[in-house]
Assembly symmetry: C2
Homo-oligomer: 748 residues x 2
């Protein structure tokens, strides 16, 4: 690998079976606008307007229609109502199409004679480049180079370029336009579509969604002065044709702007294109690349000695940076990172637990919009609580932008209540990491109080118990749908109640309420067994059935859930993902090393890791426990989730929570950094993998920028801020003066 | 009440808000064909072709479209595929319409000036008669009398008559035809519809269902020689008009025959009508009434001293007799008794537990078709087992005619497994009641073995336990969705395994398998608490949350489930219906009186009776326990289920399982008859309600017809068979010679 290879994802050659996985992985986006990495000329026999009824099945075991590729164009927050599945993000009209024809033969990389094919996503400047040689049936050879980027500098704008260089004299034709004949999960959310040519080289598509939102897309083409028009009911295109001589290079450009009725600033795609019209392609690209350079400077994690790991963390960080919508707290980041609609563009607990930490410690302003998302959607959480018959606020397992519950599967919607406590954990995490306690006494205070009021009514009381319980709960392990006193849930709820007791006066709670919050927090049990040595996932766990993995889980390359019925999962000692172990990751000092080891050896044999959220948590805890080989194995597994093209990878979108976990595995696992929830002072407990020579990364610790470097023999922490910084490695705390670096000798 | 009043349900006057409830209650049927009691002329603003998406919601809390009336025409077994809800019985074209016009004004009992309205369902001869006086807007008065019956003698045939007698000279017009513009649960199951006039006075409608079944309906009209035709895409009608003088009576007749491609004998509606054409209305009616007289003679329960109870049991028995499909084991009886499609015409555990006993002890041949239904659907049960990953056969919670699972709600489909044991209970019950042990060694043997094989794989093994468990189970109480070792389920499964061990050799099981069945049966636990005094519904029950009925169940006239969220039901000590108590009803000798009383006092305060299956079970156990007032209260509640018109009653169809329970409350509760599962000798333990003077009923005990009469001072048992019969009252057993009666002195 060259150094640039650790900044580049490469597809070469083209293989149809992998096209959909690359399409997800190659998603470009500006936060505001996201486009999957579809081929400009598309493939044949691959319609994108299939109408079907996606049922409220279990998404983890669901099978999606097996199309070779799947277009995806998303503006976060543009939602529609699905007749069975509630609100979902809408897949918008497809505007990146550019189809070259040579002597009337259409480019088809699947069926044509194509060589030297490569497609590269340059992570450094978020630019997708494809080059190929195409030999037509008539025997003529043409070189093609497609480039595109969604501008980080002008977030409504997508810019594309095509360079055609024939080796023979040819007649070249180009078709390009906007295609609104698309569906979202098989459903048509457009109540009206208007597609028209505009000016002499443009096309415009206006749609109205079933929730009354307008979306307008305008494309302008460059590279010809003679563009004919092709219109149909739900599409509009332009075409041009000309002879090209051997060796001549012809350049076409397509610039598209997307605006919607919910944009924070009034916007108009024609005006946006107009304002960009005097800039050249290179100028637009440089402005875009400059934004990405600034972004990377604040978060690039450098791993020396392991190029595959280096590439993996850059892929993860690229998608985290791409998927975050700057300055718009009306949305967060959906589980597919706006690179697919399999999870309907909704917001899960991923936000607080898997995504927020990366932003908290690299760019607190971006983190702020994620926590503000929960503050702004409080009304929806209140409505959820009312619908379930409770006071206060109950955050949705699958949240629409307005906070309303959209999950169509009752076992999650009804029982996976920990999300409401996770939200509070995120608010407090933000306040501590950004050193902004006022946030909890200000914007967040009402969330703290309202969610605590919900918990006070959600608590259960049982005969013979002196304190409350939380019954009928699904914890993080989704293979235990209805359980009693799930430790993770109880611990997080107790945390949330304590936070409400501490800061709730500002949110309208009186003294009696605050005292009740504190008392409930103190009395929620964490069930244990084996003379208290084993923290139980829930009271029922020891009495579940043996999962009989040897007999029932024959093919370990596929999930356990794909090989047994749901009812067996629901009665067996099989975990989908970390549950007690996740609690120990979040709150390590609460448990002794003995307890952590006991939990590890007890639960691990039962854990299927069927969830992509599992590996990262296990890697972090393994690193802390000094289980280096297991930590390394989980790292390998976690970093591969989206890059494992052969097994589907990102076909349905990026596993963005896992991308957050990739970053956490390095920072919280191998560098052993304690979060601001775990320590007031920046502290590292490094467990660098043997294969890594050096690990270097920037973070922001309570507003102070810090540069950290870890090797097998030393740790360097550089204070890049303006005030002294206390920092420690294991137990050795020092004060670092501004703009200086301290070095700790260290031996793993 | 006159004696005839205890044979008649009366609607008078017409009230639109109650129309739908009477429509269900007035359902007529021949077993083969069923028609809801809709008004011949229909109502205005009440379209029956509303297309909507019925979602897989929880049927007990579901709300149905609020139409004033709902047509329903059913041939059991004619199913279609609903896109979301799997297979369902199809609502067939509506053929009972007859619309009178006077001087061009259409009869409308809701909006017109109608007096002396009464509609009577004569239970004795299963005939529906409506009479009314109608004063038109022009001030003319007309007497109308509508009659109809679905012939018990010719089960494909429905015969209708309309007699019009004006008080003034009028011009009378009649329209009548077949309307195929109907839906089933909002869905259109017809892939083709062909409606045509035939002959000079007939109409024909042929439909093809989405499963490829043909249904053909032909109507012929009488009473005019001049019938014009009105055709539309999905309907066809005939019309005639003539002047009628004051005092003259005009009679119209409509005869309709329905045949389908799945009829057991090749049939043709035109031929069937032809063969009936020479019979007069009265002759057809008399042949029909004769069948009903024979039916009643074998099962009429006579209660002296309580006319409302007398009527209630006759209503129940009428619908049981109507809904049963004679000689067709490809279907059983659906939960709405073919008087509605809310439960999709599928077959539930109701068959064995609530419906079968009535037939077993009044008409064993009819009972045989119900148990044969499970034998013939074994292939579907095998397919269900395979789909869940098990060997053997697993009967469906909601069975299609072919045995396949259709329940769209996973908590029931996956977890309410007791139905598979209930099926075996039904087979053995038939064998014992009909004194036909060969049935278990013959047709039923394979069901016994195959279901036992399923159980052997479904058993769970837990660390530290010496025997197996059944985990992840929903018992009869559907508010406890996933529980461990539900006593009812374990007891029934153990019973089924014992039966398989005893008779399974004939079903292909080898000695090792039989031994394994027996051993598993012996080791399934019945969990207990309180020093074994309390039989637990399941292991988790004592640790559920207090249901807080005082706080949460404010309106006791509506179900608890309608006032709290499902997740609260699922974690609270609230029972939807009898669970342990139901086990004690089935197997009273297994439990001491102390245990029964303990269970009664423990569970009753937690029982919501939200299910219509609850009251009957409680009445029977209360009677056995000598809790006479409670038995009486539950009787009152159970007998009112379909007759409580003001609260909806039978609007969505007859609660046919409750109808079976109405009969059981009397026979097993107040007469205290032990079933053939509970005693080898006919035995009564009467607890006659104080208000009843005498209770008289016929039964068949192990092939011997018996007449029983119970008063507060004596019990008479008459042997109507050809062989001596041993029978007892409480502990006093005697032998009754053929055609003689024994009298026991008795004091309650």
């Amino acid at each position: 690998m060259t150094p640039e290879d650790t900044w580049t994802i490469v597809e070469a050659p083209f293989r149809p079976a992998l096209a959909r996985a690359y399409e997800g992985l190659f998603t470009l986006g500006s936060g505001y606008l996201h486009v999957r990495g579809s081929l400009e000329e598309h493939l044949s026999d691959c319609p994108q307007n299939l109408q079907y009824t996606r049922l409220p099945a279990n998404v983890t075991s669901e099978r999606f229609p097996e199309t070779k590729v799947k277009w995806g164009t998303y503006v976060p927050g543009v939602f529609g109502r699905h007749p069975l599945l509630n609100l979902e993000m809408i897949n918008l009209p497809h505007f990146i199409g550019i189809v070259p024809f040579v002597d009337d033969e259409r480019l088809d990389v699947e069926r044509g004679e194509v060589s030297d094919y490569s497609r590269r996503l340059r992570l450094r400047d978020a630019t997708l480049v494809r080059t190929l040689h195409w030999r037509t049936q008539a025997g003529k050879t043409v070189e093609l180079r497609f480039e595109r980027f969604v501008s980080a500098d002008r977030p409504h704008l997508c810019v594309q370029r095509l360079v055609v260089t024939p080796h023979d004299d040819i007649r070249l034709a180009i078709q390009s336009g906007i295609d609104a004949d698309v569906r979202t999960n098989g459903h048509d959310h457009f109540t009206s579509v208007s597609c028209q040519p505009i000016a002499v080289d443009g096309v415009r598509c206006r749609i109205l969604t079933d929730l009354g939102e307008t979306v307008e897309i305008v494309s302008h083409l460059r590279g010809s002065t003679d563009w004919s028009v092709a219109e149909s009911e739900r599409a509009v295109g332009r075409a041009t044709a000309r002879p090209v001589s051997a060796g001549e290079s012809v350049i076409f450009e397509k610039r598209t702007a997307v605006c919607t009725g919910r944009d924070l600033e009034a916007s108009d795609p024609t005006a946006l294109l107009q304002s960009a019209s005097r800039a050249t392609y290179d100028e637009l690209h440089e402005a875009h690349a400059a934004v990405w350079r600034r972004r990377w400077s604040g978060c690039d994690v450098v791993i020396e000695g392991d190029d595959p790991s280096q590439l993996a963390v850059r892929v993860a960080v690229y998608h985290l940076l791409r998927a975050h919508v700057p300055n718009d707290p009306r949305v967060a980041i959906d589980p597919k990172g706006y690179a697919g609609d399999a999870y309907w563009g909704r917001f899960f607990w991923d936000t607080e637990m898997f995504l927020l930490p990366f932003f908290l410690y690299t760019d607190p302003d971006r983190a702020r919009t994620l926590v503000d998302f929960r503050v702004q959607s409080l009304a929806g959480a209140r409505a959820n609580a009312r619908r379930y018959g409770y006071a206060g606020a109950r955050y949705a397992w699958e949240s629409a932008p307005d906070g309303s519950e959209c999950c169509p599967n009752w076992q999650y919607a009804d029982h996976e209540v920990h999300v409401t406590a996770d939200v509070v954990y995120g608010l407090v995490h933000y306040a501590r990491a950004a050193d902004n306690e006022n946030y909890l006494r200000g914007p967040a205070a009402e969330v703290l109080v309202e969610t605590a009021r919900y918990w006070m009514q959600r608590l259960d009381w049982r005969d013979g118990d002196s304190g409350p319980s939380l019954l009928g709960v699904m914890g993080p392990d989704e293979y235990m749908p209805i359980s009693s006193n799930n430790s993770f849930t109880n611990a997080l709820v107790a945390f949330a109640l304590r936070a409400a007791a501490e800061y709730g006066a500002a949110g309208g709670a009186d003294q009696a309420e605050l005292a009740a919050f504190a008392q409930a927090a103190a009395s929620l049990p964490l069930p244990r067994a084996d003379d208290d040595a084993l923290v139980l996932q829930c009271e029922e766990f020891p009495r579940l059935a043996d999962p009989s993995f040897d007999r029932l889980w024959r093919n370990r390359s596929r999930s356990f859930a794909s090989q047994v019925s749901q009812e067996r999962l629901y009665r067996s000692k099989c975990l989908k993902q970390a549950d007690v172990i996740m609690l120990m990751m979040l709150d390590p000092d609460r448990f002794s090393e003995e307890e952590a080891k006991r939990a590890w050896t007890y639960y691990l044999p039962y854990t299927t890791h069927d969830s992509s959220l599992s590996a990262g948590v296990h890697a972090i805890v393994a690193a802390r426990l000094g289980r280096d080989q297991e930590a390394w194995d989980f790292w390998q597994r976690g970093k591969a989730v989206d890059l494992d093209i052969d097994h589907g990878g990102a076909a349905e979108g990026i596993h963005i929570a896992n991308a957050g976990a990739v970053w956490q595995m390095i920072i919280f696992g191998f560098a052993g950094m304690r979060t601001a929830m775990q320590a007031d002072t920046l502290t590292l407990h490094p467990r660098l993998p043997a294969a890594w020579r050096r690990l270097t990364f920037p973070i922001v610790w309570k507003r102070t920028p810090v540069q950290i470097s870890v090797t097998h023999t030393e740790v360097r922490i550089a204070n890049r801020g303006a005030a002294p910084l206390a920092a420690g490695v294991v137990d050795e705390v020092r004060t670092i003066v501004p703009q200086e670096e301290e070095v700790w000798a260290h031996r793993r």
